[in-house]
């Protein structure tokens, strides 16, 4: 498919003995906002790290712009990463640098632009996330939502073609959540990006996603538009999308039969 920017093919990955992915296939179309959702612990963040080349798959491959990420040479990988922005869940701002210097960091590292131009670029990026006035603050002085927006400004500093968002809505108050939702969507349009966001905030993610992929147990369970997902026949998909406490994913962690458990205790006591 020519309009696929990221292709994940037959991907397998394990951590120790724990299988994270087993034969995962999915496609991220160019120019769209794609949400990858799934329960906690399904390896959504791991998937982003595989796309960014920070982890190597055990089997299968991840291709970005048609090139397998884990087979790139180091300089090729770095060249690819310059076209790729990743917003970490924690923001991962450099705590010893001011907001301005954080956003200027990739520009200073990768370009030899004059100081006046760096200043203009940084202010433009900060303006885009609404924090031009916060340029002199230190990361410790920012609220969680502001820190994430600064990190977003830093991630788009080099004008990437792909933006990856790792749980962008987690731990945000409703207002900053709304701000982020709108930002991700408008940045995607304004900068002509391809955005991938991994999230388990179903409402927010499906609000802005053109395509939704649901993963569970290391595989792709369902994909389609958010609307298609909500009308899915699969009880599992419906349980996840509606956030019901019990269903195919049981409320109880697997345990021995209730009667046996209590009987055993009584037995011990006797």
């Amino acid at each position: 498919m020519s309009d696929a920017l990221i292709e994940v093919e037959n991907l397998s990955f394990r951590r120790g003995r724990r299988v994270i992915f087993e034969g995962l296939d999915l496609i991220v179309p160019r120019g769209k906002v794609t949400a990858i959702m799934g329960p906690s612990g399904t390896g959504k963040t791991t998937l982003l790290r595989l796309i960014g080349g920070q982890l190597r798959p055990d089997r299968g491959e991840v291709r970005v712009e048609g090139r397998p990420v884990h087979r790139l040479r180091r300089d090729e990988l770095y060249a690819l990463r310059k076209r790729m922005g990743l917003l970490f869940q924690s923001g991962a701002l450099f705590t010893d640098l001011s907001v301005f210097e954080n956003v200027a960091f990739p520009l200073r590292e990768h370009t030899r632009l004059p100081e006046t131009m760096i200043r203009d670029l940084v202010l433009m990026k900060l303006q885009a996330v609404g924090l031009r006035g916060a340029r002199d603050l230190m990361p410790s002085e920012l609220s969680g939502g502001m820190a994430r927006r600064v990190a977003l400004a830093r991630a788009i500093a080099l004008d990437p073609t792909v933006m990856l968002y790792d749980e962008p809505f987690t731990g945000q108050d409703p207002i900053s959540m709304g701000v982020l939702v709108r930002l991700i969507r408008t940045l995607n349009e304004a900068l002509g990006l391809t955005s991938v966001l991994v999230s388990h905030d179903v409402a927010e993610a499906s609000q802005i996603a053109d395509v939704v992929h649901l993963i569970a147990d290391g595989r792709l369970v369902a994909s389609g538009s958010a609307e298609q997902m909500r009308r899915s026949d699969s009880p599992w998909v419906r349980q996840f999308m509606e956030g019901e406490p019990d269903g195919p994913v049981p409320f109880h962690y697997p345990a021995p039969c209730l009667e046996d458990d209590f009987a055993a205790r009584t037995g011990e006591g006797a």
Partner: protein
């Protein structure tokens, strides 16, 4: 787990750590010349590992000098040789105590700080985000700190010895009445630049290399949790101290063993 298996596990863990340490060094070495291209980053680190260690190094050097002066005077006066006090104080400091005590203080003051800083940068994903921005953290973060520690160590050791010599002077000459001219002239005549000072500097450079390597590795290798960082910091101080004392014996045997 039975004790034998535990022992095996501990040995394997230690070997694996040693292997990771070597790989870390192999990754770091080619980055070092490149880091020299950005002297500003090194100067910033020189300030935090070097200048900020000055107080503890100078104060300790002073006290060590005072003690050497007192003890030396005590012993030398039995042989009516108190005019040799200057030589004794200076040789003890330049050959041994300067490099060794400075390295131990450095491990506690600057090494632990480096480990904690790098470990926390790892725990808060700052290193990871740097990698994703196509910036090699070894080159941008580790290498300048390595240079700073390597450069700062011999300078701090020299200052330690200098203050120590003045400490010995204060006790010996000013307080206990050793002849001032004898203190300095004997010192100048018998402390050999090639033999003593250069060997002291070599020791300092070796200790600087090892202290920086251990501190930076431990930070980089720390488990990204608060407990992991705290353990790494402890290991930095313990391992650097042991490495410095062990290496000091080895170097002393090589340098002064035959004379």
């Amino acid at each position: 787990m039975n004790p034998l298996r535990r022992l095996g596990q501990l040995t394997l863990d230690a070997l694996a750590r040693l292997g990771r340490m070597l790989l870390f060094l192999l990754h770091l070495l080619p980055a070092l010349p490149l880091a020299l291209g950005r002297p500003r980053l090194i100067v910033q680190q020189l300030y935090s590992v070097g200048v900020l260690s000055l107080v503890i190094v100078l104060v300790s050097g002073g006290f060590v000098g005072l003690v050497l002066g007192l003890q030396g005077h005590n012993i030398l006066s039995n042989f009516n040789a108190t005019e040799s006090l200057g030589v004794m104080v200076a040789l003890s400091l330049v050959r041994e105590l300067g490099p060794v005590v400075t390295a131990l203080l450095f491990a506690g003051r600057a090494g632990s700080a480096l480990t904690a800083e790098i470990g926390l940068m790892k725990a808060t994903e700052q290193l990871s985000s740097m990698e994703m921005m196509a910036v090699d953290p070894i080159r941008r973060v580790i290498a300048p700190r390595f240079w700073a520690a390597f450069i700062a160590m011999p300078l701090l050791a020299a200052l330690f010895s200098m203050v120590g010599i003045y400490g010995g002077y204060f006790i010996g000459v000013v307080v206990l009445g050793v002849d001032e001219a004898a203190y300095w002239s004997q010192l100048v005549r018998q402390v050999d630049f090639d033999e003593d000072t250069v060997n002291g500097i070599i020791k300092s450079l070796v200790f600087g290399f090892v202290a920086a390597w251990i501190a930076l590795f431990e930070g980089f290798d720390a488990r990204p949790t608060s407990e992991g960082v705290s353990r790494a910091t402890t290991r930095t101080v313990v391992n650097t101290s042991l490495a410095v004392l062990g290496l000091d014996f080895l170097l002393t045997a090589l340098m002064f063993g035959n004379s």
